[in-house]
Symmetry: C2
Subunit: 331 residues, 2 copies
């Protein structure tokens, strides 16, 4: 059996995540038992929710235990199998964590067709981030043609899909992202109608131009000042899909400054975790896979090379350095 | 035609409402035209939403114009009629404002049966406050038997009905109110399972005992610190009906300190204005009228005597001095 490297949680962050919160370990892969298979992970997905799991205390996911391999979505190939459902050479996605090889009993592992769309897309637009976008937009915002949909972190893996799905639904899609490069990507490549650079623009003022009819749906990944700027621009009966609040993940939570806007505009806000709505995944993945295969939905990847680059890449993700889906290429 | 007194908005409040924001005027009632009727208002309803209308600027209701008669729900008797739908002696409810007599063309005026329930109840449990409770509970919180429902301003006209309807739905009803007298009323008369006195208790700690299974539905009238204390006690998939934020009506809006709780517990919050959902009124009023007639739903009234007492009574309402429905008796 091969030697494998993995990254474990060495300590819990105080504020910003630092490299010494992680530890790289080299381990021998144990031999397979009946019903098990060995996967060589080719891609590791880095996602904002991982920050929450590094903390102790109540959250929507179990905290990551100290010393355990960091959890994370992966895509790879079956290299050995004593499992009836998988054979050597199958390409699979699953939740095998920050490691090069993993033994699995097949739980949560899915064979995918890596000829139709690239394997890595199953960690992005045709994976958890894509379904997250699909669920929040379709099941919470429920856009009607002609409405205006705003999404924060628009250049990210989730936000980029939100706006493109909104456009496909006949809506005006307005992104909010940090920096000129991200905004150019959002407008030029993803074909959003507009994108606001919160680092150089006053979001509230810029929304007057970018969303002249007001905002009917808001897909929130960020929170804090950006949310405070969007709320006053929302139309009556606006809907907010609360997916993340990355602005407040590192320190004290950031308040919603003026909840009166909820009353003034009779807003609805619902938070969600896409893994609690598995019933929508097959349909959403089919739809997203079709759009990606035909190029109707586009995406970009930020790729870090090698497992040992994962901690820095993750810190970069939390600081907004990536454009599009943040991946680590392990092979 | 009779001489009538009315109260107009004299100036807009800076912070707390003061008596000099109002002016009492005496006017001659104009003679009726065809299609009009004259109502003698017997009861005037005082409600928190009136505070919002005293401000300038965007809100969910048009601001009250300076010099105009203060708007407000009323119940009274037809004393003269040239209107085909109303005859002298009919008891009617409507939105005739802070005045003793009003000429109406019948718009928004409804004849009611004041023998089944007292006329004043049509301004409370069998009126707008009752339907507000009904809508927020049934259409937003949608309680299931066995769940725990918390309501702030529980001794108020809306809150009292929320908890009683929740109990009728098989739920545990927990009130939050200010002061021992109000809490005694909520538990002893309205038969809530528990009531927390936010003036003498730590709401967060008290909720551990009062809602040992956590909070599934929260009917919010107050906001601020009380909301901050309830959010961490909410169960996964909890629902919040946002009816009012009276804690922040007078000055700077009060933030929601930690919106992360929405993510942690995947909460849904929806704000509403009951007059935008007229389709539920007939059914809700029928249900509420039945419960009040049989004594299944109980209520209390704080009654101020005479039109000139209305400003002080309204200020008292905003300061939480009333128990139950705040009314002004005009006759």
């Amino acid at each position: 059996m091969p030697t494998s490297r993995r990254i474990v949680l060495a300590s819990r962050p105080q504020g910003w995540v630092t490299p010494d919160n992680f530890r790289l370990e080299t381990v021998e892969t144990p031999p397979l038992k009946d019903g098990e298979l060995l996967v060589r992970n080719e891609w590791l997905s880095l996602d904002p929710y991982m920050r929450g799991r590094m903390n102790e205390g109540r959250s929507y996911m179990q905290p990551q235990a100290l010393g355990d391999t960091m959890g994370g979505g992966t895509a790879g190939a079956v290299v050995e199998s004593r499992h009836p459902r998988f054979k050597v050479g199958d390409r699979v996605t699953g939740y095998l964590g920050w490691q090069e090889y993993a033994v699995s009993d097949g739980t949560g592992l899915y064979a995918v067709d890596a000829t139709r769309v690239p394997l890595s897309a199953y960690l992005g637009a045709v994976g958890m981030p894509g379904v997250t976008a699909w669920y929040g937009l379709n099941r919470i915002i429920a856009p009607k043609a002609g409405e205006t949909i705003v999404v924060s972190a628009a250049a990210g893996a989730v936000g980029g899909v939100v706006g493109q799905l909104a456009r496909l639904a006949g809506c005006r899609a307005v992104g909010i992202a940090g920096g000129a490069e991200k905004c150019a990507f959002v407008v030029d490549e993803l074909k959003f109608d507009a994108c606001i650079d919160y680092k150089s623009q006053d979001v509230s003022k810029a929304l007057k131009d970018a969303a002249p009819q007001g905002v009917d749906g808001y897909f929130e990944n960020v929170g804090g000042e950006i949310m405070d700027a969007v709320l006053p621009r929302m139309n009556a009966f606006g809907r907010i899909a609360l997916c993340g609040l990355i602005a407040g993940y590192n320190a004290e939570p950031i308040p919603i400054r003026n909840p009166t806007w909820f009353l003034v505009s009779r807003l609805m806000m619902r938070a969600f975790i896409v893994t609690e709505h598995m019933e929508v995944w097959p349909g959403a993945l089919k739809e997203l896979g079709g759009h990606v295969a035909t190029g109707t939905i586009r995406y970009r990847e930020s790729v870090a090379q090698g497992l040992d680059s994962a901690p820095d890449a993750f810190i970069g993700l939390l600081k907004g350095r990536n454009v599009g889906k943040q991946l680590v290429k392990l092979v």
